[in-house]
Symmetry: none
Subunit: 406 residues, 2 copies
C-alpha cells in the first residue's frame, strides 16, 4: 500500500496537522462507566468533533497491545509488522545520534554487581540523569575504541544508556544474544553471535563489558553494564518519498523524535520541560509556513494512564483541550487527532483497545459522533480502521492523492 500511495501522492499547498495524544484511549473504572476521555470537560474537542469525522483505530492488530514504536509507525503509514525498529536504534536516533549503514546501536542498563559479579540491581537503583552523565563520561574516557572500532557512549536517562559501534569497512551484524540475564542473583551472560556477520559485534560487546567493569571498579552503585536490544540501522522509505510531504516533528521525548527522524521528518527543537505544551504551540506557529505536515506529540495523556491516575489523565486531556483553539487558529486543511495506543488508568499500562481518531477537513460526510470519546467514535463515519489507514485518509482529505487507475 505504501508503494501505491507513493505513486499517487502529489505536492500541493495544503497543510496537515497530526496530533498524537499518546495513550489517549481508556477504560471505565467500573463496568459501563465513563472513560477518561468521556469524563473530561472538553468544550473545544466537543466542538471540533461535531464538525469532524470520527472512527476507531487498531495500530497493530486486534487484541495486540502496541509499543510506542509500532504504534507511531502505524500512524505514519508503515505496517509495524513489516517495518520494525530495534530498541537500540530507536534510543540512538531518539537522542539525536545518526546511525550509518553497518553500525550497531545497543541499549544498555547500568547495574549494581556484588561479589563474584552477581547482579544485585539490574537498574543500579535508578540513578539520576546527572549520575548517568558522570558515569558515561568516565566510560567514554576509558573506551574510546575497541580494537580499531570506534565506540560511542550516550546517556539516555536514569539507568539507561546507548552504545554505538561504528562500522569501519565490514558492516557489523546485530544478531547477538543478551548480556542482561533479566534476573538478579546471577552473573551477566556472555554475548553470543547468532550468525557469522555478528561474530565481531559479540566480541565488541564482551570486550566492552570487561573494560567497563574495570573502569567502574570501586563505584558504589554503578559498577556493571547489561546489554539487551542490539539493532542495525532500519531503512524506511521517507515521508518525502512516499507522501511528497515536507514534514516536521514537534515532540519533547527522545523516542518520538527518533521515530520521526527515521521516517525523514525534520525534528524541530522544543525548549522547556516535559510536555512543554506552550512551547510546542509556539514552535508550531513559528514554523507554520515552512512545512506542509506537522506531527505534534503530546506525552502526558500516556504517562498519567501508566501511573494509574485516572483524574490526572482526565486533567491532561483538559489541558490539551485548552490548547486546541491555537491549533485551529492556524486553519490547517486537515487536522487529525489520533493516539498510538490506549493506556487505560485502570490497567496502568498500554492496552489493545481501539483508539478514537478524528479527521477535520472540508471533505467529510455527516457524522453522528458528538464528542471525541471511545463511545462516540464508534458512531463515527470512519468506523474501525487499521492504524496504517490514517495517513492515506489524511492525504486524501488534503486532496494530495491522485486517482488510482484510469
Amino acid at each position: 500500500m505504501l508503494e501505491v500511495i507513493r505513486e499517487l501522492s502529489k505536492k500541493t499547498e495544503s497543510k496537515i496537522v497530526m496530533v498524537v495524544l499518546d495513550g489517549v484511549g481508556g477504560l471505565p473504572l467500573e463496568p459501563n462507566g465513563e472513560t477518561e476521555l468521556a469524563s473530561a470537560t472538553t468544550p473545544n474537542l466537543d466542538a471540533l468533533a461535531r464538525e469532524s469525522q470520527l472512527g476507531l483505530i487498531e495500530l497493530v492488530g486486534a487484541g495486540i497491545t502496541p509499543g510506542s514504536g509500532p504504534g507511531h509507525l502505524s500512524l505514519f503509514g508503515y505496517d509495524p509488522l513489516k517495518y520494525t525498529v530495534g530498541r537500540g536504534a530507536l534510543s540512538a536516533v531518539g537522542i539525536g545520534v545518526k546511525l550509518n549503514a553497518g553500525d550497531v546501536a545497543v541499549r544498555g542498563n547500568f547495574a549494581t554487581l556484588g561479589a563474584g559479579r552477581v547482579v544485585e540491581d539490574r537498574r543500579a537503583g535508578r540513578p539520576s540523569d546527572e549520575e548517568n552523565v558522570r558515569v558515561v563520561a568516565k566510560l567514554r574516557a576509558a573506551i574510546p575504541e575497541l580494537n580499531g572500532t570506534p565506540v560511542e557512549i550516550y546517556t539516555e536517562s536514569e539507568h539507561r544508556f546507548v552504545v554505538v559501534f561504528r562500522a569501519t569497512g565490514t558492516p557489523l551484524g546485530a544478531n547477538v544474544s543478551d548480556v542482561d540475564p533479566q534476573a538478579t542473583g546471577v552473573v551477566p551472560l556472555t554475548a553470543q553471535a547468532q550468525d557469522a556477520a555478528s561474530e565481531r559485534t559479540a566480541q565488541l560487546v564482551n570486550a566492552f563489558v570487561e573494560k567497563a567493569e574495570q573502569a567502574l571498579e570501586g563505584e558504589p552503585q554503578i559498577n556493571g553494564v547489561l546489554f539487551r536490544g542490539y539493532s542495525d540501522v532500519p531503512h524506511f522509505p521517507s515521508f518525502e518519498e512516499v507522501y511528497r510531504l515536507n514534514a516536521a516533528c514537534i515532540a519533547s521525548y527522545p523516542m518520538y523524535k527518533g521515530l520521526a527522524q527515521l521516517v525523514g521528518m525534520q525534528v524541530l527543537e522544543v525548549p522547556g520541560h516535559e510536555d512543554a505544551l506552550e512551547e510546542k504551540m509556539q514552535v508550531l506557529e513559528a514554523n507554520w509556513d515552512r512545512y506542509d505536515f506537522f506531527f505534534v506529540h503530546i506525552k502526558k495523556t500516556d504517562s498519567t494512564g501508566e501511573d494509574g491516575n485516572f483524574e490526572e489523565k482526565v486533567h491532561k486531556i483538559e489541558l490539551f483541550d485548552a490548547l486546541l483553539p491555537r491549533i485551529r487558529a492556524l486553519n490547517p486543511d486537515v487536522l487529525a487527532l489520533v493516539g498510538d495506543h490506549s493506556t487505560p488508568s485502570k490497567l496502568t499500562t498500554h492496552s489493545w483497545h481501539p483508539v478514537p481518531f478524528l479527521i477535520h477537513s472540508n471533505w467529510g460526510r455527516k457524522d453522528l459522533a458528538a464528542r471525541f470519546t471511545e463511545e462516540e467514535a464508534q458512531k463515527g463515519s470512519l468506523m474501525l480502521r487499521k492504524g496504517t489507514e490514517v495517513m492515506p485518509l489524511l492525504m486524501a482529505n488534503a486532496l494530495k492523492l491522485q486517482k488510482y487507475g484510469a
Copy 2:
C-alpha cells in the same frame, strides 16, 4: 499474525471459556422480521450481553459461507485460507484415529450399484449406523491390507466411512481424483494420481474399490463404495505453542473433536446422546481446575437450522440460555460466545451472514448492545471482525498477551 501471537503470549492463571453455538446466526422468515436469536426468550443471555462487549464476525471472508472446518479453525485463530484440512483427515481424527506423517485418509460413501456398476443411490438409502458397522466388519475381513500397505476401515455414520492407508516407508500422496461421479446413472470413476507422489495412493484406491465390490456382492443395499476427499496429515502449530494454553475440548460430535485435536486440545469424554448439554456442563465443572482454556461446542443450534425448523432452533437457543448460569457460576476470566457460521432456518443450510459474538471480561468498554442478537451485536463495541481476530481478543482480555515492540 499467529507467529506474532506466539511471541507475545504468556502463561497466566486466567481462564477462558469459548462456547461455540454452531450455526447460531440466522435470518428473519419475513422481511424486517426477527431472527431465531431475536425471537428466543433468553433472560440469561440478555443479562450477560448487557455486561459484555459484542460484535459480529466473518469466519472466512465477506460473502463466503464457511464449512464447519474452516469456521472453527478461524475461531481458533488459524487463517482458514492458509490452514486447510481435508475432509478425510477431519473424519479420521474425529473418530479418534491418529494419523501419522505419510498416511492418507479418505472419506467414503456406501452406494447402491445397479446392472453394469451404474450408480443407483450415492448414499445407499442412508443406512443405519448399525448396518454401516456390519458392512465395515465385512470389508475389514476382506481387505486388511493391499500389496503390503495396511488398510484401516472405520464407520463414520449412516453411509459415511473412512479408509486410512498407512504408509510403510515412502509417504503416500493425497493428490488423487474422485471415484464418486457425483451423479447417478453413471459408473464410478477410476481414481487418477495428480502427481507422482500419489501414484501409489491411486492404485490403492482403485484396488480397494474392486475388492470391496467383490466382498459386497449380493448385498441388497450396500454393494459399492465411492471415494471423495483424500487427505494427508495437516500440521498445525498447537494451542500450547501459539497461545501457551492448556486447552480442553468439550464436544459430542466427531468433527469438532477432531478439529480440537488437530490444534492440540485435550478432547474430554462427554457421555450421553446427541448434544448432551447437561453432561457437557458436568464435564466442564469436573475439569475446571485442570485447564486454562475450554472450547465448549453446542451443536443443535445448527442442525435445527439445517432442518429449516425455525421454532426448534429458537427452542435450542433457549435451552442454551438455561445452561448459561452454570457456566457463569464458574466465573471464567473471559467468557466468549461465538458461532462458526450462520445457519438460517430460512436457508436450511450454512450461510455467509456475519455471526454475533460476545466477550465478557473485566476489561471492556461501555457497549450499547442489549441482547445477544444479530441486530444488537451491530451496536457493540467490538464491531465487525474476522473470525481469526477472536482468539487474539480473548487472549488480550485474559491479559495473556505482552506488548508488541517497545
